[in-house]
Symmetry: C2
Subunit: 336 residues, 2 copies
């Protein structure tokens, strides 16, 4: 390992996170189902295909425009199940709370978790509470794990991706990261920028049921759209090209990114999904998405190309083409 | 809720933890499988009975005689699956790491996790890493979730417990809590006191396979043996009586408890199980346990009685009887 100590970038979801996973976790916990880099592990239990995933949430601040750590913790894990084609069923909730934490805030967060799952068919069935002394945590951290069932006939994998397949993003990018940053730094942009944090299982169920040939899905959280697209092409025999002007970005997010020097391509989303779909079905899937309020701004933003393999290219608005890499360093720590 | 702010005792596993669960989590996340107070939720997935559990580990210090946070994090979750009669299969691992944490220590902990699961048949199949700034966590916290299969014919429940059933403890009590305390306070008792932290699934499989009529099991972790026995009798129409002199306690643990004024009955264990078994099979189960190195000091320590219902009584060495309650407050925060 290059670093002798853990840095914030090891938790960024970008290059150093990948290095940690590849050099430490994967060799050590070596097994076929292992999915530190995927969204969920796929397990075979007595003939049933089960998806299993975990995420810890350390977002700061705990409340932000459009959501809170509770809504985030259940949405994120539901989405990690949904993007592998699973129907989310059961969640766990593990709370690590700092001594002195306001009980009324805890109640508000727990109620937000309940409200967020209320229309998803998901139950929180097991939990745990630990309390650490003042200074031992920053208010509250939540871990959620999720279990879902992958129905017969669903088999999403990067290995079925072919040249010509289209790339869809289900809506505007960067909303979550910019909403959290705006709240954290008290920038006063809050009215126009809201986190997109939401459970996407209902919307994903619709497109899976449509019969469209969906090859692969992933939610572009930490590291943003750019990192997710790189994860898709990484070590593959194909690349991806996306068109800058086709990527939906809210005006407020665009403005704040410009002012602060951020690139929306690297900003975290918590209610969006990247879909790789056969060219034939791309418009159909996009139209289904547009009917759902969570994905009304869905757009086809690019396609799978043979060269350069393993790379993501961006055609810029002014006509240039540049290669976009995974997130390096960490622009925005503790975004989820 | 009586308290306006979270106290360390809310994470003790004792009375305030139960209040938090009963007054906040249970009403909010209301569903039949919910097991905040049990060891694992039991779920029916396409006809397969699945056990699902979660625990966060915040033990301080991270290394202690007999184990470390990694060994603890996998053992604890494996044990929560095993005591509901499930065969542990898959674990998740979620790391919350403080910026600056020593990479070599992280590697040591991850390798300890791997070593601990190596003979259990359990795989770590999914994970997550978050990094928080200096001061945002105390080194490292680990959350693990576990999935296990409950085989046909196994149905452990407090509802099958009857008067006359025997209570077995699988070995000496208080070792884990006293080992951690001793290390934390640098008391220098370390040579004689070691944590019992270990995965018990192999040992439990043997007694389940013996055909003995085992009614219920639970691992007496936070809150110790006294709290676990109280959880078993709580709101039931029976009570439990245990004999003080039958309870195995290591000399070192007994001595340290006496010096510091702790009661071993309330000290956490991480490699022990409380078993409620029919009177007819008690000796048989105890003998099977004694053949396993992890339970060589197993003992029948008491029995189920009709009165006083809902209470745990202790017959003391000098012949008296007193009622022992759940843990109140928190004697030893961050023991697991």
């Amino acid at each position: 390992m290059k670093h002798k100590n853990i840095t914030l970038a090891h938790g960024s979801g970008g290059k150093l996170t990948h290095e940690l996973v590849r050099k430490l976790f994967l060799p050590c916990f070596n097994n076929t189902a292992l999915s530190f880099l995927g969204d969920s592990a796929i397990l075979n239990i007595n003939g049933t295909k089960l998806a299993f995933t975990t995420d810890s949430y350390v977002v700061k601040p705990l409340f932000f425009p459009g959501g809170d750590i509770g809504r985030l913790a259940v949405s994120g894990t539901i989405n990690d199940l949904a993007v592998v084609g699973a129907e989310p069923m059961f969640l766990s909730a593990g709370f690590i709370i700092e001594e002195g934490f306001d009980m009324a805030l805890l109640e508000k967060i727990v109620k937000s978790m309940k409200e967020t799952i209320s229309f998803t068919g998901v139950d929180i069935v097991t939990g745990d509470t630990k309390v650490v002394e003042r200074g031992g945590a920053d208010g509250l951290y939540i871990n959620t794990c999720g279990i879902g069932i992958v129905n017969d006939g669903i088999n999403l994998s990067t290995s079925s991706i072919e040249t010509g397949d289209k790339i869809i993003i289900s809506g505007t990018i960067g909303d979550h990261g910019m909403a959290v940053l705006s709240e954290r730094e008290s920038l006063g942009f809050t009215p126009s920028i809201k986190s997109d944090c939401a459970p996407l299982s209902g919307m994903i169920k619709k497109i899976l049921a449509s019969g469209a040939h969906i090859k692969f899905m992933r939610d572009p959280t930490r590291g943003g759209l750019a990192t997710t697209l790189n994860e898709i092409v990484n070590t593959q025999k194909y690349g991806i090209v996306i068109e800058e002007q086709a990527i939906p970005v809210n005006d407020g997010v665009r403005a704040l990114c410009e002012i602060l020097g951020y690139d929306p391509l690297y900003i975290a989303n918590e209610g969006k999904v990247v879909i790789v779909v056969s060219a034939h079905d791309a418009v159909k899937v996009c139209n289904i998405l547009k009917e759902d309020s969570l994905s009304k701004d869905a757009a086809i933003i690019g396609e799978v190309i043979p060269e350069p393999a393993g790379k993501v290219c961006l055609k810029t608005v002014i006509g240039g083409t540049r290669i976009i890499d995974m997130l390096v360093g960490d622009q925005l720590p503790r975004i989820c």
